[in-house]
């Protein structure tokens, strides 16, 4: 089917990197985090207790510090070999991070990958 954007946590970035084993059809993912850093065309989101992810922003992305955002983007290599990041395709502002129970999101990620058949096509 058309585009699918699996919900992930920072630990899963590797699995969705274009170079990872298996011809995975999608490198586009969804991730949820709080904006904790803004530097020009880059931003950092913190994903609960699961670490940070660097975002490569679009010129028209406007993120606000301290807001909870859901990011749809492609997993990509950062410059200078700084590991993996996400090239942003779109963001959704979900407001105050304290209004979201991140533990539930972790369960969502777990459930969507464990019971994949109702969420994503096999890669």
């Amino acid at each position: 089917m058309s585009l699918q954007t699996p919900r992930i946590l920072p630990a899963h970035l590797n699995a969705f990197h274009p170079s990872s084993s298996g011809p995975r059809s999608t490198h586009t993912v969804r991730i949820l985090g709080t904006v904790t850093g803004l530097r020009g065309d880059q931003a950092t989101i913190t994903c609960g207790n699961n670490g940070d992810v660097t975002l490569l922003l679009k010129p028209d992305s406007h993120l606000q510090m301290g807001k909870l955002v859901e990011v749809v983007g492609k997993v990509t290599d950062l410059e200078d070999g700084q590991g993996l990041g996400i090239r942003v395709l779109g963001t959704t502002d979900w407001g105050n991070p304290s209004d979201c129970d991140y533990k539930i999101y972790e369960q969502v990620v777990e459930a969507t990958h464990r019971f994949k058949s109702i969420f994503y096509d096999a890669e």
């Binding site: 058309s2 949820l32 959704t92 969507t112 019971f115 994503y120």
Partner: protein, 281 residues
């Protein structure tokens, strides 16, 4: 419903019991007629809608082998196109995309400013592009294109609502493919479902069918079934008195629970009317 059960029960001898689950959920007679009994609103993902099967043209759509009358899902609005008679949204929930048509209430067209119809026209209930929306409606198709005939499209402002929906859809999926939690077949089914999870039809999932019959039973009937399933026994199963002794309840209660199980065709009487065994395939 009663007719269906009895038919299945009677046909056991010859048919090897193959028709149990279909009899309950998918039989042609249950198709359109059963529609009236099945007004459930089922939480799903867009992928499940796209994958929903139709046993024959004009039949009800099925997800996990169970008819779905109405579906509920949450996704991002990727496109809004307003026509004179309807508004068409394209909804993407990360698992797929589907078109949603909401008919414009003709009554509300000229009463936009009143409290009726789609009440706050510009207020909280406005659907925004790329915002999240909760859609409830029925699966329809036009030509080869599947879409949702929406009853309701409402904005979602709390992300927990979205997450809750995803988990709910998962629970309901597991319910239909593996049976109720802690059900008699839960353990055994787990292994099957882990391997066969991708089989969306699930029509050959007899265990689930049996569980589905069980789930509407009284707690006592479920217990009796459990005892029959787990207690060591020979080919003739267990006598009412034995079951009553094991469960520590009056034999009359056990007999009543047995009636229920017999009626649903999940157990059968063996050497006499009072001795039962589990009907297995």
């Amino acid at each position: 419903m009663d007719g269906g059960y009895n038919n299945n029960y009677n046909s056991y001898g010859g048919g090897g019991g193959g028709g149990f689950m279909p009899g309950e959920m998918n039989s042609p007679s249950g198709g359109k007629g059963g529609d009236r009994d099945n007004k459930t609103l089922r939480p799903v993902t867009v992928k499940q809608i796209v994958d929903a099967s139709q046993p024959f043209p004009e039949a009800n759509y099925q997800v996990d082998g169970a008819d779905v009358a109405n579906v509920l899902f949450i996704g991002q609005v990727r496109n809004i196109s307003s026509q004179s008679t309807n508004v068409t949204y394209k909804i993407d929930d990360g698992t797929g995309e589907i078109e949603v048509k909401k008919w414009v209430d003709s009554g509300s067209a000229d009463s936009m400013d009143t409290d009726e119809g789609k009440a706050p026209g510009s207020g909280k209930n406005e659907i925004e592009l790329n915002g999240y929306a909760r859609v409830s409606g029925a699966i329809k198709s036009f030509g080869n294109k599947r879409y949702i005939g929406a009853h309701n499209v409402l904005p979602v402002k709390d992300i927990n609502e979205l997450h809750c929906h995803i988990l709910e859809a998962t629970v309901v999926h597991l319910f239909f493919t593996r049976g109720p939690p802690g059900g008699a077949n839960a353990g055994a089914k787990g292994a099957v479902a882990a391997g066969g999870d991708a089989v969306m039809g699930g029509a050959d999932d007899y265990g689930a069918g049996q569980n589905r019959a069980l789930m509407s039973m009284s707690p006592l009937a479920k217990k009796v079934y459990q005892v029959l399933r787990t207690e060591p026994q020979d080919d003739t199963g267990l006598h009412v008195q034995q079951i009553a002794a094991k469960m520590n309840v009056p034999a009359t209660d056990v007999a009543r629970a047995g009636e229920e199980l017999l009626g649903a065709g999940v157990i059968f009487s063996t050497s006499d009317e009072q001795t039962w065994a589990i009907l297995e395939y």
